[in-house]
């Protein structure tokens, strides 16, 4: 703590407090916004529930619903529009919407383009029966949406003989009390300046270094604590104020409804309107509109807990900053940055790119592999989708490579991870063997002394490497075409039957291996040729003098000299072939039925055809692990053989 100078400690205090309180304020603002939205919704629900009750009564007493609805909209402030839809009769029973009224006499049959309203009733009905069956409140029984002009549209169910038969649609103005969400205002600034002054004063009496550092730490914790505490209690206060306004609103609605002539309003009870989204009573105020504060706090407890956690987490980050700056690390980092600013300036652009688009995606991919993220929930925060090791368990426990059908016949389950893994290994081994054999053979031939046309052969034989591999793949796909492909023409030329190459896994395998063999042998050939040419002729001469035959010369001179060049080339081509996406994806496309899929094309299809991002990420991590294990193993083997 020698570097914990007064200046550093003061800077640490100010920066960490500004950061901590700033971030906490952002979180608290989100809390205020949530409280406002909740209040707007509750106000609308209370109004809507009241209207629904009145309409229900009007329906059962066979009054003219259209008149009732019209009067309600005129009387109740903030209620903009009401529609009653009867699904059983497929009827628009009543509406205050100008267009609806202009379109003709009400009630009338629903039109085709109004099917949406009918569906809403069906949705509410399904939700209600599900909740009753399960004895739980799981499906929403109040549909809410925001209209383009920021008004709240609610749909509530209407019951007939205990079943949802109709619905009431209301459009409500967003109502909330002005005293909501005032937040903590200047408190943060005052606290920041105050603690800076206190610290300055303290630094005159307390020696710099550890004592002052600890005092600063205590001060930071205390200030953040107070700030977060005030912020959270302000949010809680918002909830209570919000509920008070809802109770007030309920009383107001009750009064206005009772004043409407012709409406039966004697028995209206406002507590029955105070519903949550599952239409369960919330009991946050009584019939006289007195708010039950304890109930409000109870309802809010879980959400409050989340805010406390958030504030705690942000506080920890601020403390880390305090330590980093106050203990002098920040100054050191800064000094290094200034001292080597030239070098860092040169490295930074590339490094930023790498961090954002290589390293971050890598770690994010690993993180994703522990979630059940899909295309459809990609915008939800990742911690809500956490599924632990589920994906890995699912992938690795997929051991049923053979399936037994009901009639006892056995078939291969091509979708099994282990089939795909086995196929990938078969694919890699076959291709690398073909590549090495062919490449080595051609290199040895081309290395023959006095061979004519050497440069011609070399340039032609290297061509497949130059052709972009997606083009190679598509060409071979055309040549393997069942009806028109030249390969089947050759077979027919000699009297054979045309083969449907991609209908059985083995012929499909032959097709992809042929394609990949064609494009991969030149690499091995070039590498081997280069190595062969660098073997000094003296070695062979010495071997001949020792009486070695041609085979012995090959075994004891050529092969060992090739090894340093061939081993890395083989490792490289194993990894390339293992990940050779284009050939499989374009030639066999996994046909038949995914039998010739290799791991990475499978991962791609899971991600971009099934849209299971989390599962695909886990699949990719497994592939990475396999390659890692291969790399480590290969490294050991190479080292071990080098030792001999």
């Amino acid at each position: 703590m020698r570097t914990a100078s007064t200046r550093n400690i003061l800077a640490g205090l100010i920066v960490s407090l500004a950061l901590g309180m700033g971030l906490t304020s952002l979180v608290m603002r989100a809390g205020h916004d949530a409280a406002r939205i909740a209040t707007i919704e509750s106000n609308a629900v209370v109004t809507s529930a009241a209207v629904t009750e009145v309409i229900d009564e009007a329906l059962s007493s066979e009054a003219d619903v259209q008149v009732v609805v019209q009067e309600l909209v005129e009387a109740v402030p903030g209620l903009e529009q009401v529609r009653v839809i009867h699904a059983g009769r497929r009827q628009l029973t009543a509406s205050t919407n100008a267009e609806d009224k202009a379109a003709g006499e009400l009630p009338r049959r629903l039109k085709r383009e109004q099917k949406e309203w009918f569906d809403q009733v069906k949705e509410l009905e399904a939700a209600y029966t599900t909740n009753v069956d399960e004895g739980k409140a799981r499906k929403r029984e109040i549909l809410a949406s925001v209209t383009p002009d920021e008004q709240l549209e609610l749909v509530l169910p209407l019951f007939e003989d205990g079943e949802v038969k109709a619905s009431v649609q209301t459009v409500n103005l967003p109502l909330f009390p002005s005293e909501l969400g005032r937040g903590v205002g200047l408190l943060g600034v005052v606290l920041l300046l105050g603690s800076a002054v206190i610290m300055l004063a303290l630094s005159r009496f307390v020696p710099s270094g550890l004592p002052l550092f600890l005092l600063g730490l205590v001060l930071v914790i205390a200030v953040l604590w107070v700030h977060a505490g005030v912020g959270i209690s302000a949010i809680v206060e918002d909830r209570v104020v919000g509920q008070e306004s809802v109770a007030e609103r309920a009383l107001q609605v009750k009064e206005t409804i009772q004043a409407v002539p012709g409406v039966i309003g004697e028995s209206l009870a406002i507590t029955g309107w105070n519903l949550d989204q599952f239409r369960q009573p919330r009991d946050t105020f009584d019939a006289k509109g007195v708010v039950a504060t304890e109930q409000v706090l109870n309802d809010f407890a879980v959400a409050k807990g989340r805010f406390v956690q958030g504030a705690f987490f942000l506080g920890l980050i601020s403390l880390l900053f305090y330590y980093w700056i106050a203990a002098g690390w920040a100054a050191k980092t800064w000094q290094a940055l200034v001292k080597y600013r030239g070098a860092y300036g040169f490295v930074m652009p590339a490094m930023v790119g790498m961090i954002l688009l290589v390293f971050f995606p890598f770690f994010y991919g690993i993180l994703m592999s522990f979630t059940n993220q899909t295309l459809y929930n990609v915008n939800q925060p990742i911690y809500e989708l956490w599924s632990g090791l589920d994906n890995y368990v699912k992938i690795l426990s997929d051991v049923d490579v053979f399936r037994t059908a009901e009639d006892g016949s056995r078939s291969v389950n091509y979708q099994s991870f282990y089939w795909t893994l086995g196929f990938t290994i078969l694919w890699t081994v076959s291709n690398v063997s073909i590549g090495v054999t062919l490449g080595l053979l051609l290199a040895l031939i081309l290395n023959t002394p006095n061979l004519a046309f050497k440069p011609f052969y070399r340039i032609i034989l290297i061509l497949p490497w130059a052709v972009p591999n997606y083009i190679t793949a598509l060409i071979w796909k055309g040549m393997f075409h069942k009806q028109f492909g030249v390969i089947n023409q050759v077979i027919q030329m000699f009297g054979g039957e045309p083969i449907a190459w991609f209908d059985a896994w083995f012929t499909s395998f032959i097709a992809v291996v042929a394609t990949n063999g064609w494009l991969s042998f030149p690499f091995m050939m070039v590498v081997a040729l280069g190595a062969l040419q660098s073997i000094p002729g003296d070695l062979y001469e010495a071997a001949r003098v020792d009486g070695a035959g041609r085979w012995d010369q090959f075994r004891f001179v050529t092969l060992p000299s090739l090894k340093p060049a061939l081993v890395p080339a083989v490792i490289l081509s194993v990894v390339w072939t293992f990940n050779m996406f284009n050939i499989i994806y374009l030639v066999s496309q996994g046909e038949p039925a995914g039998a010739t899929e290799i791991l990475i094309t499978d991962a791609y299809k899971i991600a971009f055809e099934q849209y299971r991002y989390g599962y695909a990420a886990a699949y990719s991590v497994v592939i990475f692990m396999i390659l890692l294990v291969y790399g480590v193993w290969q490294n050991r083997v190479t080292k071990a053989t080098e030792g001999i």
């Binding site: 290094a336 590339a350 971050f360 061509l463 972009p468 083009i471 023409q489 996406f581 990420a617």
Partner: protein, 294 residues
């Protein structure tokens, strides 16, 4: 005289094998040329009679079209948006080359000339990143580029991806070359009061032209031939790159247009094939050097 006689006898079998291999190697290339110049969309070079004889079949596999026509080359640009796709590929590849080489030059220079905290860690991290499998980063990259940055079907998204993935190879390549430039030149420039930025631009860059050219061509070819990322990011048909466009001709469920594919393939592949053949020695040495280090 006698040795050359025995040589040519001994070599006969080698030549037979080599000629066979040359035929196998060349056939697919002749095949695509034949389809391209046939003027039709069909996979067949000739129309077979109902009951084809051996000779008919033989004619059907001979890579020579019934009539030579440039129609496919004309149509692929006028009837199909292949010109647009080539343009997309060129834009992306050129921008990738410029960004990638600039980033790699500056970073390679710093790694070669400066000693600073984090230098080793930085270089190693570049090397390790080469071991990350493409698929593992593909899904997160898709989410970052398309869902977060909304750069799907946009040049910028693909350029960002290509130039960052090319960085490690280019940095190591260029650093190796910068290391061979003698320091005396820079030291005397420093004496004359030049800043590192000036030294970089006025001395290092001009001296490294060959290495920079190779690196640039490498980035260009990689971007030009890239398939998976482009397939994933470019959704809109007007934003396809040439590889995706070529796959579109023959990969879909619609009628397969082999004539367009072949003509387009030749146009798209010829420049990079020539580049490859010219540069093969450099590329091969770069590849093996990288693999030994890895």
């Amino acid at each position: 005289m006698s040795t050359s006689r025995t040589d040519s006898v001994n070599h006969l079998w080698l030549h037979i094998f080599l000629v066979f291999m040359v035929l196998v190697t060349v056939y697919p290339i002749l095949w695509v040329l034949t389809v391209a110049f046939s003027g039709q969309q069909s996979l067949m070079f000739v129309d077979l009679p109902a009951d084809p004889s051996f000779m008919d079949r033989l004619r059907a596999i001979m890579p020579w079209p019934q009539q030579v026509s440039f129609q496919n080359f004309i149509d692929v640009f006028t009837q199909q948006p292949f010109g647009r796709w080539l343009f997309n590929s060129a834009m992306v590849a050129i921008a990738t080359t410029i960004t990638g080489v600039f980033l790699a030059c500056t970073a390679g220079y710093a790694f070669s000339r400066f000693r600073f905290p984090g230098r080793r860690a930085g270089m190693m991290s570049f090397l390790i990143s080469q071991m990350f499998p493409g698929t593992l980063t593909l899904v997160p990259l898709y989410i970052i580029i398309v869902e977060w940055l909304h750069l799907g079907s946009n040049y910028l998204g693909l350029i960002l991806l290509y130039s960052t993935t090319a960085i490690p190879f280019c940095v190591w390549n260029l650093k190796g070359y910068f290391d061979t430039i003698p320091r005396e030149l820079e030291e005397s420039a420093l004496m004359d009061g030049a800043s590192p930025v000036m030294i970089f631009w006025k001395i290092i860059v001009p001296l490294s032209k060959p290495a920079i050219a190779i690196t640039a061509l490498f980035s260009f070819m990689t971007a030009w031939n890239e398939f998976i990322l482009a397939l994933t990011i470019m959704d809109k048909e007007s934003m396809y790159t040439a590889p995706i466009g070529l796959k579109f001709f023959v990969g879909g469920f619609a009628e397969q247009q082999w004539g367009y594919f072949s003509a387009g393939s030749i146009v798209a592949a010829l420049p990079v094939m020539i580049l490859f053949l010219v540069l093969q020695r450099f590329l091969i040495s770069g590849l093996t050097a990288g693999s030994v280090k890895g």
